[in-house]
């Protein structure tokens, strides 16, 4: 993945969403300003372990993750829990708002979380006035779906070691593309128990598997901080092919000219 080094994350001022969307297409100054404005309009915070929205609720707002980590999860009646997605800064929760009557899953904060709430009106104004942003948001939605498919592959085909390695690769690359990781290092505020619920493994086995990755000299993981010591080897071990993240600036033909 050469572009990981060449196409480094944008400067410190940009928020994670803008940074991520520019993996798809260069936004104009006006686009970026509009995004910043919408995101600044109304904020809300949640504490770690708090639910951001819950199965059965009527969805009413679009959330943009600004800070912290969250996850999408489902409970089975008998208490088993599966995390089906992680939300990182720059990710969007749920454009289904205007169509579906109720949530079929919950969204929970893993850490303290700050989100931007976007109402229907602001959102429609944004996409009406900024076709490039509309395209970029489509791209982000399609990537989200592609990630969900890859998780299906991950759970269906990979053994414990590959599975966890794959998840670490994915999260690292996604953080990187939002400007939140460099030199193999990133925040990683996910407990082993959460990791177990995301990978369909028991937490005991997650623990042993992480130890194996450490002993192999592939990662360092402690105090909610992850360092990937040998990304290439980790990717090979995980059979990780990043094509599904569509990071190759696939919307380059839409690029804005002005800086």
């Amino acid at each position: 993945m050469d572009h990981l080094s060449s196409n480094a994350p944008k400067g410190a001022g940009a928020n994670a969403l803008t940074c991520k969307l520019q993996q798809f297409t260069r936004l104009s100054l006006a686009d970026r300003a509009a995004l910043e404005r919408v995101v600044a309009e109304r904020r809300r915070t949640f504490l770690g372990r708090e639910d951001i929205s819950r199965e059965g609720d009527k969805p009413t707002k679009i959330y943009v993750m600004l800070n912290g980590w969250a996850c999408r999860y489902k409970f089975l009646e008998d208490g088993r829990r599966q995390i089906v997605a992680f939300f990182l800064p720059g990710d969007l929760c749920d454009l289904n708002i205007f169509i579906l009557r109720q949530m079929d899953h919950s969204i929970g904060a893993l850490t303290d979380v700050t989100v931007a709430e976007i109402g229907r009106d602001s959102f429609e104004r944004l996409i009406d006035d900024h076709p490039r942003i509309t395209q970029a948001l489509w791209w982000e939605a399609l990537v989200t779906i592609a990630i969900q498919r890859e998780w299906t592959v991950n759970l269906g085909q990979r053994d414990a070691l590959e599975r966890i390695a794959h998840l670490l690769c994915e999260l690292y690359v996604r953080l990187w593309s939002a400007g939140l990781a460099t030199d193999g290092h990133c925040a990683f505020p996910v407990t082993q128990s959460d990791l177990a619920d995301a990978t369909g493994l028991s937490k005991v086995h997650v623990n042993r598997t992480l130890q194996e990755l450490r002993q192999e000299g592939l990662i360092r993981l402690a105090n909610r901080q992850l360092t990937i010591l040998d990304l290439d080897r980790l990717k090979r071990l995980a059979v990780f092919d990043p094509n599904y993240l569509h990071l190759d600036r696939e919307g380059a033909h839409l690029d804005a000219n002005n800086e």
Copy 2:
């Protein structure tokens, strides 16, 4: 699921797509005619085992499944295969066409398949002229994503028996909603080997698990025909909650008045 009995599939004339979309909202005569027209424009057939589109291809057309079954799948480099979705008559393949540069997965025919090919122009005309159809297609896309999430849960949390039972429940209900199943009976042209690739189990174990379901008096499955003998019990065994299929006519407020 009371609506399964009360809200029976529509008359024989309707195609599976129309039938399915009306689980969301009642279409007007004009809507239905427009759908039929678009779907009749250009057809194409594929043989069983043939690829409809392949990883790496540039997507260019929208396909509507008219007849036969297909699947979305991914290979890992080392040959392992995971089926990540089934396409049944009435399903749509890929609205990502106009955004993503290349397919990150393949679509393969499981049986002989007839599809309608829809070009970009026809599609845009359809959604410009028929807002109710646009909404219904949104709904169908959101349900597809919800199904993908539920597959993640299925692979992550359920054991072999539950997993296969769950898949059978889902496929039965989806076929039912497209007007292709009645009285617990439906076509089921999926080999045990395909089932293995879809559930992340070995085909030997799929075989034994199906036998268990048969011995329990829950299903009959032979000659590519499936009969569900006790849907309630099967659903309980599978911990199957159909809420993720959003079949409760969630778009009822958009219903067309005219017949």
